[in-house]
């Protein structure tokens, strides 16, 4: 069974604003899916429709086989949601907050008490457990929200900008936790963010949203192939022979385009992975001393901007 299915989902707000348009995608169980797009792209609207707090104007979606539009409370029982608007109670302590949500999710007392303490420990909030939420920093609140969303051991997590306001160390800690949840417990993660570097670090697949429309989805490699042809190979070595000593020259023998990027550093453009041995052989045969060969993958940021640019050209 797929964790999430979305078919031609649309949302038009009163007033005619199209927040989401004909969105179709699906998520496998245990997948960490990065739903990317700028502010106002329709990411939060999609989460709201998937959690049943917003009615779609068209199309349909399911979460772990449940229809959020007709049985939102059943969807809530199997999912955890963290959004910046979903706050907790300032007049309660961190621990009391988690106890309350544990009880509201129908967990037995001894179970929610144990679970709350364990989550606080994992998210490095044990020391602040007895402190009122009003004394928490933004980062601590964000981590407590994640703990709250995990209290009832959900099958799927909807996270809307979960690391905004977190310091790098806490963000790394949260990332590790999200990845281990997907890997070890099989939790599906639907992560909305506009922080591309952050998403690249933890997501296994991506969906790129712009103006409510999905412009691409797939793994980093698959997305890269949509906009970039060939591979870039980084070579570190000395005595790279022949015409290769000058930047932006073409090797007459092998036909590889290259660029000198630093002392003893070169970048070669090749068509496909199979050409790497041929390139290395040619360099060695030419008298070069090779110390390192690595394939440079395009970053999500580069791919994202190339895809959005392509999307604009198509729509123009």
């Amino acid at each position: 069974m797929q964790a999430v299915t979305i078919e031609k989902l649309s949302k038009i707000y009163p007033g005619g604003k199209k927040a989401v348009e004909n969105l179709s995608l699906s998520l496998q169980k245990g997948e960490v899916f990065g739903f990317l797009g700028p502010n106002g792209a329709g990411k939060t609207t999609t989460i709201k429709m998937l959690t049943g707090t917003l009615m779609p104007s068209g199309g349909a979606c399911t979460v772990l086989g449940l229809n959020p539009a007709s049985e939102p409370e059943k969807v809530h029982a199997v999912c955890g949601v963290v959004t910046e608007h979903a706050q907790m109670y300032d007049n309660l302590t961190g621990l009391q907050n988690l106890f309350f949500y544990g009880e509201a999710f129908g967990m037995p007392k001894d179970e929610y008490e144990k679970r709350a303490r364990k989550l606080l420990e994992e998210l490095e909030l044990s020391e602040a457990a007895q402190r009122k939420l009003s004394a928490y920093s933004t980062g601590m609140r964000q981590r407590l929200s994640l703990a709250r969303a995990l209290m009832h051991r959900p099958g799927i997590l909807f996270l809307d900008e979960p690391t905004s306001g977190l310091d790098p160390e806490s963000a790394q800690n949260v990332n590790r936790m999200i990845q281990s949840l997907a890997r070890d417990e099989g939790i599906t993660v639907f992560l909305c963010t506009h922080q591309l570097r952050y998403a690249e670090g933890i997501c296994s697949r991506f969906g790129l949203l712009e103006h409510g429309r999905l412009i691409a989805d797939g793994t980093l490699e698959a997305l890269g192939r949509q906009v970039f042809s060939g591979l870039t190979v980084c070579v570190r070595g000395t005595n790279i022979s022949g015409g290769m000593s000058q930047p932006e020259k073409r090797d007459a023998v092998c036909g590889f385009t290259y660029r000198k990027t630093g002392p003893d550093q070169f970048e070669f453009s090749i068509g496909q992975e199979e050409e790497i041995p041929k390139l290395v052989r040619a360099l060695v045969d030419g008298g070069g001393n090779i110390y390192q060969v690595a394939v440079k993958t395009k970053s999500l940021e580069e791919i994202y901007f190339a895809l959005t640019e392509k999307g604009r050209e198509v729509s123009a």
Binding site: K48, T51, G52, T53, L54, M55, P72, E73, K74, H76, A77, C79, V81, T83, H85, A86, Q87, M88, Y89, D90, N91, L92, F100, Y101, E103, A104, F105, G106, S145, R148, H152
Partner: protein, 258 residues
Amino acid sequence: MNRAMLAIMKKDFYGVTGNKRLFTTMLIVPLVLTLVLPTIFILGIHFAPGKTDLDQLLKLLPEVSDVEHTLYGLFLNYIMPIFFLLIPVMTSSITAASSFVGEKEKRTLETLLYCPLTLRQIFIAKVFASFSLSMLVSFLSFLGMAAVLEIELVCLTGSILLPSISWVLILFLVGPSISLIAVTLIVRGSAKAQTVEESQQSAVFLVLPIILLIVGQFTGVMLVNAWLLLGIGAVSVALDFVLLGRAAKRFDYELLLK
């Protein structure tokens, strides 16, 4: 009522009682109405230097054997019940505003809506929390008032005064029913109101009929007796059913999270 709903009720209770500013505001009116006002009145009647004007007035009425005791009875069973109605209206509107609009204002409502409860269950839990806290304050206020009044009367006159049937109707029919009306008015306005203060203004409309009753009673236009209270109670209960049904319909994800 399941455990999750009880948890919401408990949390709403604590949200009001744990907030010193809110709780103090909520207790001031009951304290003044049930402890301070009756004490001033009783002491006033008992220690008034001369009752000449009042004697003139009483000569117009059928003869009464004990003027002082009659006045106490008039105060306890005719004047106090109407003033007392302000307590459930005020407490339920404060708790409902904190429970519904306060959660919206503090952005905790969205989190609550992600719990595995139907909107109807959340609505019932919240209405019940506001209603029961209001009833608790009303009953405690009545008990406090009765205790203080009886102690004062025993000390000053050596006798006690029993509350009339009007109090039974106030405590078990009119008070609860108008308390529910106040809650529904707050819920009704909660979709539009962005702050607790803004939402409490809608309950002001409910205070107006009570003020009219007080004015009517003092000017002699009407006598608030058991039959009138029974009538008011019946109308209020009917209104409760209509308003609760409508308020439940307005309790909708999109309206609440707007």
